[in-house]
Symmetry: C2
Subunit: 216 residues, 2 copies
DNA sequence: GGATAATTTGACCGATTGGTAAACATTACA
DNA sequence: TGTAATGTTTACCAATCGGTCAAATTATCC
């Protein structure tokens, strides 16, 4: 007699490990490309190379798959912001935050699009994460930035909108990739666009945040 | 005997005018919230307050509705960039471009999300518009910016990435609205966030683009 | 007012959706 | 090696999908 579904066993088997990995990889492909509602279990099953019921043996519902995927990716996704160091040199911290975020847009565009799709469609599945862990992390780092501004190390500015602007400019290269490529044309659509973007964004943010020469 | 479908008549009736308007309004609601694949004709019909066959009398397919919607919205959407004036004062042109884009994010968030959804999911329906009219417009304005830089009116920078960064930072407030609200918390989620954003972005871009005091 | 064209709807279609039941196959472990 | 738990598949389900059809209703114009 079979116990209804996977994950009921106390110990995870090797097969469970492998198949869940395989499924989440496929789910990332599909969800990031079509959003939750636009994706189908059949698509994911095909990409994962297994039958639909087999996939549903590991994740009971489409929502469960999405949930597991979000959980797995979210922590990693916030890593660059977490690395933001209050003790470091402001200019260097911001520069390296931009660089890291840009590297993630280049190396993990599917993860970026997964969240973009989710947030764009009203974040029905991650509202709690946004209002909880994300807000707390941003609040903490905003305080760091505010302190830098107060100490005259950078210009006085709204730290939240500064963070938003770094998020949006960097993630743009993952989320709006096809538009960026279309506008730049074939000749500038190689990986060089990320270096150009990095150069421009550092110039913009470092220049834009440099403290006023005359204190006020 | 009925001629198969609407729009076959040479003269558009009053009813056609009204109903098509009504449908596109509903379609904007639904498509912008769920993307093309995630939206259903039934949803749109319900929002539009009419039966599904009636809706399909005016637009033969879901794609036709989407197409009509995109066409109607695209021209308006590019208006701010078109207004970018080569003869104007660079600082003032950039400032007002940011302000205009931010106003559009505030006043027409559905339009912004419509495009965001489309581009995010690979732009399957607007590839031609991106590579054609959009690219041409951006090329033209990039040349203006390049000339300003050459003349020392603004700092030397990549004009394409400058435009991208204005797009991304401003549209962020429409496309990622729920995230912005979640992070800012209830107390800062009123319309005031657009004024704060405007202030910050002007500071960032004007400061970041100010020409080097020492030439070269 | 009546003919004609335009509009609207309920009933329906085949395909696809998320998900299930149960038989079958494989693995782990004593 | 046997057996119980785990893993996989075929066949299927009701609901929903995009879309059609023919009949009924309404507007238009002479």
């Amino acid at each position: 007699m079979t116990i209804p579904r996977a994950a009921k066993t106390l110990r995870r088997t090797r097969i469970q490990e492998e198949k869940e990995e395989q499924i989440l990889e496929a789910a990332l492909d599909v969800f990031s490309a079509s959003g939750f509602r636009g994706s189908t279990i059949d698509q994911i099953a095909e990409v994962a190379g297994m039958s639909k019921p087999n996939l549903l043996y590991y994740f009971r519902t489409k929502e469960a798959m999405h949930r597991a995927l979000i959980d797995r990716v979210l922590y990693t996704w916030l890593e660059p912001l977490r690395a933001f160091d209050a003790e470091g040199n402001p200019e260097e911290e911001i520069r390296s935050y931009i660089r890291r975020k840009l590297e993630m847009a280049r190396d993990f565009p599917r993860e970026s699009r997964l969240f973009a799709n989710e947030v764009l469609q009203g974040a029905p599945h991650i509202e709690d994460e946004l209002k909880g862990p994300l807000k707390e992390l941003v609040d903490e780092k905003a305080e760091v930035i505010r302190a830098w501004a107060k100490a005259g190390k950078i210009v006085k500015c709204d730290p939240y909108h500064l963070i938003f602007s770094i998020w949006s400019t960097t993630q743009h290269y993952a989320d709006f990739d096809v538009q960026v490529r279309a506008v730049l044309g074939q000749e500038h659509s190689g990986d060089g666009r990320f270096e150009d973007a990095a150069r421009f964004l550092e110039q913009l943010f470092i220049g834009g945040l440099r403290p006023d020469p005359i204190g006020t």
